[in-house]
Amino acid sequence: MSMALSMASEGSVVKVKDIVSGVMMKKRLGELGLYEGTRVVVFKNDVCGPVILKVLDSKIVVGRGQAMKIMVE
């Protein structure tokens, strides 16, 4: 089942399905290791505010708006 990253619960492991945003943003996320097919751990996801992900071996902060555009399963 796919859903927006912003909906994923804290502590869950999800796989990135699709990134619905501009080429530039896709590229930036890619440089940080977040591209289609990556598995990420949702390290922190409060009701509002940015989401923190563990990607590869680092932690990445992604704004809530952006997190809504990343589809995961």
């Binding site: 530039m24 943003m25 591209y35 590869l56 071996d57």
Partner: protein, 673 residues
């Protein structure tokens, strides 16, 4: 015979690149700017086994595309200046992400040596690396180092020297798949027919053209016949988009990660460690939904307490020394029989003016040190996360908060730090509100006034002044966002570096550099202004020094009525504010010169000229009005127009004046004096 070598350090942010740079070059370094750019350029020298090695610290980037100034600077250096060796610093805890940049360096045809840093930390996390295998698969030497303990530095230098001598034709280990490679080689053939400067790898250019890299496209288009190549690349790009259903950039990135994945599988063993790392446990607390902001405020409050309490004894010492110099110089001039005016210039003008400013060096040193510790420990990025919600109200994201904190030290580097923001609107908005972040140059003024009137709560009151600045910044931001900067800001994406103990040496180097800049300013700009004030205060001939009949008294008298509603309509304050435009710390120096007393005596004299209420209004004015010429110049440089700097000058003056009036008149109404 000694050989000259040029070595560049490259790497992601937070991988210990600067620590390695400091370990290599020690004190022999030089900080400047890249030609024509405002990106900081660090260079240093190291002598090793008959080699004079010049080390250049490239800006920390994640990639070498043409999207940010830092990336272009790094890329141009590697291509145009062709360093003998590029040392790519890799954080052993995060090899995959770090190697992404490495593949791009290899594509550029750089002579790469990989320095694997923080191996011990990685081993604790259950990551072990076989450097021989990694070297084999990457096709470049790999050396393990521990930059903060200076371990492995000589081994690294050996490998670097060795690599510089047998520079071989770089072969690109990454393959992009037959479809892309096929089209790329067709473009390569076309590129071979036109006159491409030889320093570029044709293969790299071909891939970059397919990726539609703006800078490369522009460069090729300028070559005779280049336009056809660009057009053809555009067609192939469209074709590939049809074939893969995604942009070439994505396929290329996939290929890079695929290659890296292979290298890592062969050479790195990762044990699953499931316990929470220390870093994560700390994060659970400091980034807590409810506790985050109180903890952040507590950290800031502590920062100011330390700045003042630890600075006090040093300030007394400097005060004592300035007193000695002042007495000594006075006695010497009298003894030598020089005219009275020389004595007045030296003692009243120069020594009391500069003395009043130099006394704040301990405070400023400590404040910069606290900010550097916050940055290096990794807490700064957390602060950005915590403040993201608040900043969203302004229409900015948490990353804009980092330049604002740096603004507490000095607005000039803060304005430069806005470069990390991708969106132009976000950048300008952050620059516009940054001057309200109270910089260390304003500190002397607060210390003087708060010390004179409210000495028992000094740390707390100064903390409140800073908070008030933040408050005005946020309010202004909201106003701008709803008027001039409508529309979405770019999304927040940033890395949270792991917590680290800051390296003492790095902190000290960084802090002394910044403090030295302050001292230099005191010695140049402030010196010049102090002399100008002295001349204006002594002219026309025969007037009493710094009296109302002097030129400066007359100038002040003209401006002063403007500040009557604020409660400080005397001419000395007007003159101090006027000269404060050059640099805020001059305000104190000006009072020193105008009242003809140095630091210690100044606070007594001030209590005679101000009431607690008018002092509060004056402090608010100093907090909010134009930071200084240097900031105006920085905004001009960064926005490349006069519109925004002029706007900042007018806007901040108006806001400062209005707030000062509100404080004074409001205070009167409430019955304060």
């Amino acid at each position: 015979m000694s050989h000259k070598l040029r070595v560049a350090l490259s790497g992601n942010p937070n991988v210990g690149k600067t620590t390695l740079f400091n370990a290599l070059t020690g004190a022999h370094q030089h900080v400047g700017n890249w030609p024509g750019k405002t990106v900081e350029r660090k260079e240093g020298q190291v002598k090793y086994k008959e080699h004079d090695i010049e080390v250049v610290d490239l800006p920390g980037t994640y990639s070498l595309t043409a999207y940010s100034i830092e990336e272009i600077v790094a890329r141009d250096y590697v291509v145009d200046d062709a360093p003998d060796v590029v040392v790519h610093v890799v954080d052993a805890c995060n090899i995959e992400r770090n190697l992404y940049l490495c593949t791009q360096l290899l594509e550029l045809g750089a002579n790469v040596v990989v320095a694997l840093n923080m191996v011990k930390m990685a081993e604790k996390k259950g990551i072990s690396v076989d450097e021989a295998k990694m070297s084999h698969f990457l096709g470049v030497p790999v050396v393990k180092i521990e930059a903060n303990k200076k371990a492995g530095i000589y081994e690294l230098l050996d490998v670097v020297v060795d690599a510089a001598h047998k520079r071989k034709e770089a072969k690109l280990p990454v393959t992009y798949g037959s479809e892309i490679e096929g089209h790329a080689s067709e473009i390569e053939v076309m590129l071979d027919k036109i006159e491409v400067p030889s320093r570029y790898s044709v293969k790299w250019l071909a891939i970059k053209l397919l990726e539609n890299d703006s800078q490369v496209v522009d460069k090729v288009r300028k070559i005779v016949g280049g336009k056809d190549v660009v057009d053809e690349a555009g067609r192939k790009r469209d074709h590939l988009l049809e074939v893969f259903g995604e942009d070439v950039d994505c396929s290329v990135a996939d290929a890079r990660y695929g290659f890296i994945g292979g290298v890592v599988r062969e050479s790195v063993v990762k044990e699953e460690v499931n316990r929470l790392s220390t870093s994560e446990s700390i994060d659970k607390v400091v980034m807590h939904r409810v506790l985050g902001i109180p903890i952040f405020l507590a950290v800031m409050w502590m920062m100011f307490q330390v700045t003042f309490s630890a600075g006090a004894p040093f300030m007394e010492l400097i005060d004592f020394l300035v007193g000695l110099v002042s007495d000594g110089a006075g006695a010497f001039i009298d003894g030598a029989g020089w005219p009275m005016w020389v004595n007045s210039l030296v003692v009243d003008g120069v020594i009391s003016g500069i003395g009043a400013v130099i006394i704040f060096v301990p405070n400023i040193f400590l404040l910069f040190m606290m900010i550097a510790i916050m940055e290096d420990s990794g807490y700064m990025a957390r602060a950005a996360f915590i403040m993201d919600k608040v900043m969203h109200k302004v229409g900015l994201h948490g990353k804009s908060f980092i330049p604002m904190i740096i603004g507490f030290g000095c607005n000039v580097p803060a304005i430069m730090a806005t470069r990390t923001l991708e969106n132009e609107k976000d950048r300008i908005l952050t620059m516009l509100i940054n001057p309200f972040m109270s910089c260390s140059a304003r500190l002397p003024v607060y210390v003087l006034f708060v010390g004179a009137f409210f000495s028992s709560y000094q740390g707390t009151i100064i903390f409140l002044i800073y908070l008030f600045g933040v408050f005005v910044a946020i309010l202004s931001g909201m106003l701008f966002k709803r008027t001039m900067f409508r529309g979405l800001s770019s999304p927040l994406v940033m890395e949270l570096p792991p917590y680290r103990w800051p390296a003492v040496k790095g902190i000290l180097i960084h802090t002394s550099e910044r403090s030295w800049l302050f001292v230099k300013k005191a010695g140049t700009i402030i010196f010049a202004i102090v002399v100008v004030i002295w001349v204006l205060a002594s002219m026309p001939w025969g007037v009493e020094y710094a009296s109302q009949e002097s030129f400066i008294g007359q100038i002040g008298g003209v401006i002063a009525p403007v500040f009557t509603p604020c409660g400080f309509g005397d001419w000395q304050s007007a003159v101090a504010l006027l000269f404060g435009f050059a640099a805020k710390e001059v305000v104190v120096g000006t009072f020193g010169t105008l009242y003809g007393v140095s630091d210690a005596g100044l606070s007594e004299v001030i209590t005679g000229h101000f009431t607690p209420l008018s002092a509060a209004a004056f402090v608010v004015m100093v907090l909010l009005y134009v930071p200084c010429m240097a900031v105006v110049a920085a905004i001009r440089r960064e926005t490349n127009s006069w519109k925004w700097p002029l706007f900042v000058v007018v806007y901040t003056c108006v806001v400062g004046w209005v707030c000062a009036v509100i404080v004074y008149q409001g205070g009167l109404l409430l019955g304060f004096v």
